[in-house]
Amino acid sequence: MSIPSTAIQQQTTRHAPASSPWRSVCILGGAAALLTVLTALIEMLITFLPGGYTSAGTVIEWFALLQANPFLGMRNLGLLNIIMTALSIPLIFALYWVHRDTTPASAALALILALIGLAVFYATNRAFPMYDLSARYAAASSEAERAMISAAGQAMLSVGQSHTPGTFLAFFFSEVAGILMAVVVLRGRLLNRAAALAGLVGYSFLLVFEVLSSFVPSSHQAILVIAMVGGLANLTWYILAGISLFRLSRFTNGR
């Protein structure tokens, strides 16, 4: 492969790891990755607490859960996903930033897909409006009012209940972006290879999980296994990617 030497000089000069912006971006991305792991562990811990596995079926049951335990109700409607999605912004940006010369097109595409995915996620998440609606339902004075609020709640649930067709597009975009970014990391060789492989496996399994849980909900057992493998591989990805970004932030090359 013949490469113009000026291009290489330009790349290495532009991306000197010693530079301050490089360091800040890597540190921020690394910290976000490790905070995501922490949030995921809290999510798991909550599941094992009394009532942590409680969920709701009908819209009335959702209203009751949100009134009895607002945190648990909103958590079941993606409250912790809101935090994890916010944390994914600095991480995906850091990964784009460090790969923007080695694989610029793929890294940019992964960044854009991820940002579109999270914009769709935030626009369609209904945890807070459902909480508000549950309070209105509790305060409703007539049967007609309760029926109207139930219908509004049902519409919201159809859009924002996690891992249903309503939330499919947001998760689909995020997971495709994750797969693409893992490929970028694998090809870029600036970060840990194991991180990339874990990311590839994790996001691929989570994508399959998303398709099955949204469109083939009858396959419960398979969905659980796939989600478990995907979740564990994804946690590994966050840990290794975070550590790699911290390491990368420390390097200096004399410039």
Binding site: Q11, T102, L248
Partner: protein, 258 residues
């Protein structure tokens, strides 16, 4: 841990090895060409499957009919409520990245157009309710009679919020069509793409912008809107084919330059 690959002294070597097809743009151009062809395929599928089917404003059908259509003919329901638009807009994302690379001399305008396209896509994907309506139809199919009115009311709200070609989804579509017009204008001002490609794009996106406006805000003139959409669709099919051809040529020339 691959500590050796993280060694700063290895970074220039790694970079040397990684000035890949990705960095040269060949992969991006090829992907963009492929996406253009897939958009044509999606458009043709939409046109062929719509043939012989009576066209009517999506708001005109009763919600119970939509919920039944999802169960009886899922493809028709998904297609009429915007799945094809979701697919074509998603496929357009790499194409706008390829425009960024192709128009090196007009970066500001292309960056602005791309931003509009990405925002429009995100808005459309967020506001379209085809998937929530599908979820609701699943519940509706097995719900007891007493629960059906509540599900119908919820469905009506979803239909108003995000049925395709209605005010609920207009903004997302409008942003993406304006982005297309800006790109086509850029094509006319540069020599990267042929003038015919620019003209086809300009005409196609303008016609579709008029179509989306009419369909959303003048439902009484839905038949007129549909008459406009047919030539608009054909113009855009021709535009996408020319785009695909040119992207393949750009990929080839980038490869030969190395």
């Amino acid at each position: 841990m691959e500590t050796n690959t993280l060694n700063p002294q290895n970074i220039p070597t790694a970079r040397l090895a990684l000035v890949t097809a990705d960095a040269r743009g060949t992969t991006l151009y090829r992907v963009a060409a492929l996406m253009s062809l897939l958009i044509v395929l999606a458009g043709l599928t939409d046109a062929i499957t719509s043939m012989g089917v009576e066209a009517y404003d999506n708001r005109a059908a009763a919600i119970s009919d939509w919920l039944a259509l999802f169960q009886d003919d899922s493809f028709a329901a998904f297609s009429r409520l915007g799945l094809i638009n979701i697919i074509t807009l998603s496929l357009g994302i790499p194409i706008y990245l390829a425009f960024q690379r192709a128009f090196q001399q007009r970066r500001a305008l292309v960056a602005f157009a791309s931003m509009l396209f990405f925002i429009g896509t995100a808005v459309y994907l967020s506001s379209n309710t085809v998937f929530p309506l599908y979820a609701l139809s699943q519940q509706y199919a097995t719900a007891p009679a007493a629960q059906k009115p509540m599900l119908e009311a919820a469905g009506q709200a979803l239909l108003e919020q995000g049925a395709d070609l209605t005010p609920g989804t207009f903004l997302g579509l409008a942003f993406t069509q304006i982005a297309g017009i800006l790109i086509a204008t850029t094509m006319l001002r540069s020599a990267i793409f042929s003038r015919w490609t620019g003209r086809l794009g300009l005409a196609g996106f303008s016609v579709m912008l008029i179509f989306f406006s009419l369909a959303a805000f003048l439902p009484d003139h839905y038949d007129t809107a549909m008459l406009i959409s047919a030539p608009g669709g054909l113009l855009l099919v021709a535009y996408q084919l020319m785009l695909a051809r040119r992207f393949f040529q750009l990929a080839k020339s980038e490869r030969m330059d190395q």
